[in-house]
Amino acid sequence: MNNERPIYKYIDSIEFGLESPKMLKSIAKAKIVTPELYDKEGYPVDGGLMDVRLGVIDPGLRCKTDGQKLKESLGHFGYMELARPIIHISFIDVILGVLRSTCRTCGRILIPDDKVDSINAELDKISLDQGLSERTDKIKKIIANLRTINKCPHCSEKQKKISLDKPSTFMEEDRRLSPIEVRARLERVPDEDLSIFGINHLVARPEWMVLTVLPIPPVTVRPSITLESGERSEDDLTHKLGDIVRINQRLFENINAGAPEIIIEDLWDLLQYHVTTFFDNEVAQLPPARHRSGQPLKTLVSRIKSKEGRIRTNLIGKRTNFSARTVISPDPKIDVNEVGVPEGIAMKLTVPERVTEWNMDYLKEFVKKGNKEYPGANYIERPDGKRKRITDEVKEQLLEEIQPGFIIERHLMDGDISLFNRQPSLHRMSMMCHRVKVLPGMTLRLNPAVCEPYNADFDGDEMNLHIPQTEEARAESEILMEVQTQIISPRYGLSTIACIQDSISGNYILTREGFEMSRNEAIDILASAGITNFAKLPKKERVTGKEVFSCVLPDDFNFEGKSRLHKSNPKDPDSIVKIVNGKLITGVLDKANLGGGSGLLLRNLHKKYGRDKIILFLRDLNGLGAEVLMKYGFTSKLSDIDLTLEASKKIEDMKLETEKDVEKLITQYREGKLEQLPGRSMLESLEGKILERLNRLRNSAGELVEAEAKGDTTTMAMVKSGARGNTINLAQMSTIVGQQALRGGRIGKGYRDRSLSCFKKGDLGSNARGFIGRGFKSGLRPDEMFFMAMTGRDSLMDTALRTPKSGYLYRRLANAMQDLKVEYDFSVRDASKKIVQFMYGEDGLDVSKTEGGVINVKSIVESIK
């Protein structure tokens, strides 16, 4: 920076106005008269659309207006005299409003003089009290009311109805108003009456909405592309402008030659069409102007509007440097707040570090390594801003130059701050700050416990990594976004990052009642999991799993909670989880305490020991779970879902009974004796009852399977701990897959009166309508397989169609609520400080500081006792 002092300005207001024809002409640097672009030598034609006075897009040429070269000259506007006035399509509504509300002869607004002032005063008051959008609403209302007045209060002239024949023709009763007449009427409206229409006469006149002069945008706005073949391809805007110039010239010639009125009017309409599509090629009533290939031209409005427009792609959505994207894969051995970065990426992404006296030697080491060896450096920046790339050839010389004040852009290293993100970013937890850990390989690595907040899996998901480049950005990321700050969800006040899958199964097996091992084994497991403090392990030959688990817990931790067992069997010794002074006394640890979205154990640890410690707990818990599984093995075998002879007999009986019940229902239906459900037709009642009956069968089969299955298999461990799978899944594997539902009901479509051609017509029985009464283990019949394929495809379609819908729903919601804020008086307010809610969430609680949305008063009382 020079010694110039920065100038601070405060934007008080912005005024939007219109450009007058006079102004357009004086701004313009060239008058465009010919549709030709280049002469035989390929040099831009004077007075053509690529006139060199409008700027340059060819290397070597100089702009005739400012004498600058390509990329230096910003370009200049030209103008074109229109043979006849043309209505500007974007102002149609305003013009219509003004025409309808002003007198057709004297041009005054259709409001008596004495009322004009009071209406103006009212408008000013509204904009002051309620805001500008309310003012525009009021103006709309006033204009709508004026439509009904049919006598001018000033000159007593009778008024006629004016209508708009879309897109751009004004009709006065049955007579067409030409743009010339429209313009003449608008000219008659006096300045004083304009404020009621919301027009500031100092910056805009209504007649300027009818164009007599068309501004030609600079060539730099519509550059042409030279194809490989040497041919030139012009921009869509240039094409459109060419059309306009051509038709305009023809119109001029015809008028001068005194051609018949019909021909002139046709040409005039054509010119109106071209000018309209030049501004907006998506006008509802007009066919869009097209390329020869048939694709619509992209003109001014389409350049700006919608998702692909300038605003949403280029202004709101920018591309970033210092970012990376690849496939992700799991690494349970790194911490949850770390991210594994491949070495190849680490050598491309850099962190700028400023050279000082104290770190000069440290930073020189990076330059010595160059850009091809790992921890090296890619660029060096001198205090004057000159950047140089470090290569093996120049690194010796650069090494000599380095002085305090230089900036070295060194490779990414372990411990650097990064932002890690997975789309769709629906959450604040979708973008978190991780510490870099450089690893071999080609993928970004993350701890499986953070899959939950990112909603990531490893079936080919890719994620983005960003490296903040300034101290401020790094500090902000670390304080606001690091993984440990995001553990407790602001939505429900519980852990989002918690134990998953193997970690839950492992700890479940370990803490189950009766599980024990020798002390040596215990130390083995703990040490492999990275836990080195064995002081809490009792000094005896054999130790229980609970004692091993207690090594993870801090000594002063007390907790009481319920395990998943508590619901089904509250008498079980493992159903109450009790931790006293850091020792697990009773209870088995399962998903209810270790899992995400439910685990009060984790919530309590977080509350007592803070967010940095919880990372370490998670590391120990995950490590311990994994080590237990590795030590004792964890393999699901086919016999895990075997049933005893009695059990399968019981289930067969249940199936038969259900079959009978369904038959009975169908006979009742056929005889018209079926009890009708309220608000349902007879057939719907039957369907509902059959569905209910079949679901009951599957559920009771599930319960039976759970009760009969040998409790100590790995499959049961997964189900009981809540790590994966449920009893229905068990039943599906061993005995009954169950009813396949298509759009909320049983499968009925396909053939006439039947689902598949192998069934009888009109068969309403369970098998003919998609009930699968056998398990995956025994295998499915072809028709059953087909039913499954049907529902599978249906759910696939459903998700594919629902995702974009819910995405748009979310976008609207996010935009509507983005600037709501909780004020110091706990009220929720919008950007203009209007109250939305008098007490945040109606109870004024910060959910992220609660336990599952509530405050546990009991535990607070106990903790101060």
């Binding site: 009290d129 309620q130 008086d825 009220s827 307010r829 400080k833 209007k834 109250i835 939305v836 809610q837 008098f838 007490m839 969430g841 109606e842 109870d843 004024g844 609680l845 949305g853």
Partner: protein, 88 residues
């Protein structure tokens, strides 16, 4: 009186008596002042309620009155909202 007529008579009950309509009360000028003071707001910052709203018909409201609405809340048990009466 048939069952049907009885029903139609019952459904003509005032909306205010319906269980789903929360309690609406007009608050005094003093309470109004305190409310504005507490939140540091003016009339225009309040949510609005139309003067013709059936829920406040029985209060015979005037413009710029403040209506206190007590709703049942799933988080707080009872939640209090205020609305300013507007004519349009």
């Amino acid at each position: 009186m048939t069952e049907k007529q009885k029903n139609s008579k019952e459904s003509k009950k005032e909306p205010v008596e319906h269980v789903l309509v929360p309690k609406h009360e007009k608050i005094s000028e003093k309470e109004k002042k305190e409310l504005f003071e507490f939140h540091q707001i003016e009339m225009k910052d309040l949510p609005k309620i139309l003067i013709t709203d059936p829920g406040i018909k029985h209060l015979s409201p005037k413009e710029n009155d403040v209506i206190k609405i007590t709703r049942n809340s799933s988080t707080a048990g009872k939640a209090i909202f205020y609305r300013g009466v507007v004519s349009e």
